[in-house]
């Protein structure tokens, strides 16, 4: 019988997913520091929902449950979705989003390895379209909030929709820089004036830019560990920086520069954790460059011309649709074939 090779040297799928989770930890710590403990509740809720949903669907599909739960892919989806949602969103929003991501976007397509779309982003897009008002109610960073909520108060808000007496919802939420930029631009304000607002930090959102920096740190760890290839984040960031730079140079009063676009919104989360989903992404090195560059350009266009303040989720989903085409047309030259 021929069953060589007899030796292997590969991390397991579980180990790969574990490292992705590990790489998210700095971001989560920064998030908690900036926005309070609400995110930890969302993460827990999403994780539990993801595992239960995955187990239930596997049972219905009569597939072994334990190996699929152990691969931790459901937890990665849950965390990415939770991190993309506003942290003080009601508990059911997290549950519904995760349920949709795992049950519909992942398991109904055949489970891990078979889903054509990024499950977390499908969940996010469904929530954004279905509940646009809640989805854009971001809490103000603790440092900026007029009445910062204690952790217990955040807990009560998430589960019971109860705010401390005398505190209106507007007092704890604020516009995100990208949101503010969009609405103010509609009011014909100039970018230079807009970015004077207190919600802006050195590059992105005040406070929020630290979360973004932490994502970047975790992402670099993933590149160093060879969990993700450098092609995707590099091309995504380069494309987004390039297009925002060109627009900004052409009309500085109309378009924000690359600094804001790179450090605000979901740029770094997207660059290192979202567009790098291997299952729904391209496989060839050149394809990865095209895919990520396309996602970067689309993200920018949706941010500037689209109906939503941020565009990572839709950009990724649109590029997911192009993956078969990209793969088919970017096959690398096989050894000994024509150059």
């Amino acid at each position: 019988m021929n069953r060589s090779p007899y030796i292997t040297d590969a991390p397991s799928v579980s180990m790969i997913m574990l490292k992705v989770l590990l790489a998210l930890v700095p971001g989560i710590i920064a998030y908690t520091w900036v926005y309070g403990g609400g995110i930890l509740i969302s993460l827990t809720l999403a994780t539990i929902t993801a595992l239960i949903t995955e187990a239930a669907i596997l049972k219905i599909r009569q597939r072994p449950i334990a190996p699929s739960l152990a691969d931790l892919s459901a937890v990665v989806t849950a965390w990415l979705l939770a991190l993309a949602l506003p942290p003080l969103a009601p508990w059911w929003l997290v549950v519904v989003g995760t349920l949709f991501a795992i049950a519909i976007a992942k398991q109904l397509y055949g489970g891990l390895g078979y889903n054509p779309f990024n499950p977390a982003m499908v969940g996010y897009a469904v929530l954004l379209i279905s509940f646009p008002v809640i989805m854009t109610k971001w809490p103000a960073p603790l440092a900026l909030a007029t009445t910062p909520l204690a952790w217990t108060e955040q807990f009560r808000l998430i589960f019971g929709n109860i705010l401390p007496t005398g505190v209106p919802l507007d007092a704890v939420t604020s516009a995100t820089p990208l949101d503010y930029l969009k609405t103010q631009r509609m009011l014909q304000q100039e970018v230079t004036t807009i970015s004077q607002a207190s919600i802006f930090g050195h590059f992105g959102a005040k406070g929020g830019e630290w979360v973004t920096a932490a994502y970047l740190l975790g992402g670099l760890y993933l590149v160093q560990q060879r969990i993700i290839s450098w092609h995707l984040p590099t091309a995504f960031i380069a494309a987004l920086a390039f297009i925002s730079f060109i627009f900004n140079i052409a009309q500085p009063s109309q378009f924000a520069g690359p600094g804001l676009h790179l450090m605000a919104g979901a740029t770094m989360l997207g660059a290192f954790f979202i567009i790098t989903d291997p299952v729904s992404g391209p496989t060839t090195p050149k394809g990865k460059l095209y895919f990520a560059a396309g996602a970067g350009v689309l993200t920018y266009l949706i941010r500037v011309y689209g109906g939503y303040p941020d565009g990572v989720a839709f950009a990724v989903l649109i590029m997911n649709m192009c993956v078969p085409l990209i793969d088919a047309h970017t096959q690398p030259r096989v050894f000994g074939h024509k150059r």
């Binding site: 019988m1 021929n2 069953r3 030796i7 590969a10 799928v13 190996p67 891990l112 390895g113 496989t283």
Partner: protein
């Protein structure tokens, strides 16, 4: 965008490759643990002559050799037991003196585990050589040396077992400019080439000189992985006597010992996928093979022994020089025996080797390494999980294939797509499986897809052949029917004419006899029809001929001296050569049929006999033809008996 990417990748490549020795790196590759140390601490040991030797006739790529001995024959050491038959074939010799005690099927070391014809030799212990005659290779004609080598039984000892005399022929389109000596030995555990170079570098260099002379190669490059410093030193020292030769170390990276990868590493030449290295002027030999060439020319010794690494879960791993046909259990015992937790035995290395069907098989020319395997050494793979398209396999593939796509196509039996994605460029090196986080046995999927595609192609070819043959037969039957009708008409006409002659002799010349005219018309029409049918048949044959007019490639797995490729390649090559042979046979058959048809037509014109094309057809077709013939004779008899009326 494209140009930027190309420029960047070139820049990176240049930075990466401008290192020592100007090595040209290939894509991918893996770094498995070498495990070379265990078996290199002791010198190569000679194994005593065993009680019996079992020699499979099929120990090489190509046709099975023709047996020349019978049970009871006494043979001397080095006497030929079976001679090479056909182009790609190799002889088998008696590894020691003794008596042939059996010629029967026995289990051979092959992944299939199927028995094959073997000669059993019971040694007399004298180990007496037949009279040996060294060959003065410097002053002998090339063709003579090649035909002499054909009787030497020497095949590629790196594991590919391709008959060596074919690789040294000069009758190729392009001359060989560079001879590469493959001493990379990239597979883990295997050290037989390493030890051979350490101990017998001088003899290897002598063999290289002969091979260089035979090929007329201006340049020699000896490629050794940098994990063999002792061997490199020995070879560098000995190679001083060669002209225009260089010893080059290549980085330890599996599979650098694959011939095409090694050529790229050493020369920066990518052998085109559809060509053999010889077509770009490069020939590759393994070190053990050139040593065998030296022993043959210097002493007249044919291929009767080889070096085998015995390692893994054994007490004292070591290399042994053993007679071909030696039972492997003796080798195991010589290495101190397999430890108790040994579960199975692997022939070849851990990347490309295969499970021995049983330990009780003989050493063959392909047996470079026997590994006693245990769960601690080769952990059984965990259950496969879904592919997550992480593309680690693509990063590791030395051919730059997309293994995840090939897996997808093979799994869904989408064979055409698999072929489009260059499945047949896969060298089955195992790098993809080695790095797969989902533990998917990728290489198995590729082997499966390849064998399915080959089987489908064969079935298609057989169907095409059957259709051609049937078309030919139908055309012939039609032609014969017409001829019969014509004859009948002629006979009828002449009968009528004879009857009518006395009365109508005069009128026939001036006016026309309606009957005779009709008969003539029928005859003409029949002749025209016949001509048409013949034309059609000829066109069919031409079409068939051009359709199958592919270059006959007798020598199909060329120079792939990658260790342990034996298990995969022999089948492919045999089938490829068989296919080529079948095509050649078919062409010859068609050509012969045309010739015969012409001759018979001529003969028929002279004698009036019906042409036949019954030679070279299968028994079934012959039976059919006989049946038709019988009916025809009967019909003719009936016509004859009726004719007088």
């Amino acid at each position: 965008m494209n140009t930027i990417i190309q420029f960047a990748s070139k820049l990176i490549k240049n930075l990466a490759t401008n290192t020592a020795n100007d090595i040209h790196k290939f894509h991918g590759g893996v770094h498995p643990d070498g495990h070379k140390y265990e078996s290199t601490t002791r010198p190569i040991a000679q194994l005593p002559i065993p009680q019996t030797l079992t020699l499979p006739l099929r120990q090489h790529v190509g046709y099975i050799p023709k047996l020349k001995v019978k049970v009871g024959d006494y043979v001397l050491k080095g006497e030929m037991l079976a001679e090479a038959e056909g182009t790609v074939s190799a002889a088998i010799h008696a590894p020691t003196s003794g008596t042939i005690t059996a010629i029967e099927e026995a289990v051979i070391p092959h992944p299939s585990g199927l028995p094959d014809m073997c000669v059993t030799l019971t040694p007399d212990g004298k180990d007496q050589w037949k009279p040996l005659t060294p060959i003065d290779w410097k002053n002998t004609a090339h063709s003579e040396l090649i035909s002499s080598l054909r009787t030497s039984g020497i095949v590629g000892l790196g594991g590919a077992t391709f008959p060596t005399h074919i690789k040294l022929r000069k009758d190729r389109s392009s001359a060989i400019h560079t001879l590469i000596i493959n001493a990379a030995e990239c597979e883990p555990y295997i050290t037989c080439d390493d030890m051979l170079m350490r101990e017998r570098a001088e003899e290897i260099i002598q063999g290289i000189a002969i091979a260089q002379h035979l090929l007329g190669a201006a340049k020699v490059v000896i490629g050794i992985e940098d994990n063999k410093p002792e061997a490199t030193q020995a070879m560098a020292g000995a190679s001083q006597s060669l002209t225009n030769a260089v010893v080059t170390t290549v980085p330890t990276l599996y599979p650098s010992g694959d011939a095409r990868r090694l050529i790229h590493l050493l020369l920066g030449v990518e052998v085109p996928h559809h060509k053999r290295s010889t077509e770009v002027g490069i020939q590759v030999f393994n070190v053990a093979t050139v040593l065998a060439i030296y022993r043959y020319f210097a002493f007249g010794e044919p291929s009767v022994s080889r070096i085998v690494t015995v390692t893994g879960n054994v007490t004292t791993p070591q290399n042994f020089e053993v007679l071909l046909g030696t039972p492997i259990p003796l080798l195991m015992a010589a290495a101190g025996g397999a430890k108790p937790d040994t579960t199975h035995f692997v022939m070849g290395g851990p990347m490309m080797g295969f499970d021995l069907p049983t330990l009780n098989v003989p050493v063959t020319k392909a047996a470079n390494c026997i590994i006693a395997a245990s769960p601690a050494l080769f952990a059984p793979p965990p259950p496969a999980q879904p592919c997550i398209r992480c593309t680690r396999c693509a990063d590791a593939c030395p051919v730059n294939l997309q293994p995840q796509e090939l897996y997808w196509f093979a799994k869904s039996d989408n064979f055409e797509k698999a072929r489009d994605y260059n499945l047949f460029d896969c060298i089955e090196c195992g790098c993809c499986t080695y790095v797969c986080p989902s533990n998917i046995p990728l290489v198995q999927y590729y082997r499966y897809a390849k064998s399915e595609i080959i089987a489908l192609d064969k079935a298609q070819e057989a169907a095409d052949l059957a259709r051609e043959r049937n078309d030919f037969r139908l055309a012939r039957i039609e032609r014969e029917k017409l001829e019969r009708a014509q004859k009948h008409a002629e006979r009828a006409a002449s009968a009528k004419n004879n009857e009518a002659k006395p009365e109508l002799a005069e009128t026939e010349k001036t006016t026309s006899n309606p009957d005779a005219v009709e008969a003539k018309k029928a005859a003409i029409a029949a002749a025209v029809e016949r001509a048409k049918a013949l034309k059609l048949a000829a066109a069919n044959i031409d079409a068939a001929k051009t359709g199958t007019d592919l270059p006959v490639q007798a020598e199909s797995t060329p120079d792939n001296t990658l260790p342990n490729i034996a298990e995969a390649k022999p089948d492919a090559t045999t089938s490829a050569t068989n296919e080529a042979q079948a095509k050649a046979d078919k062409q010859a058959l068609i050509a012969a049929a045309i010739e015969r048809a012409k001759a018979q037509k001529l003969a028929a014109a002279q004698t009036g006999a019906t042409p036949k094309n019954t030679e070279n057809l299968s028994a079934k077709v012959k039976a059919e033809i006989d049946e038709i013939e019988a009916i025809r004779t009967k019909a003719q008899q009936m016509i004859k008996s009726k004719a007088p009326d």
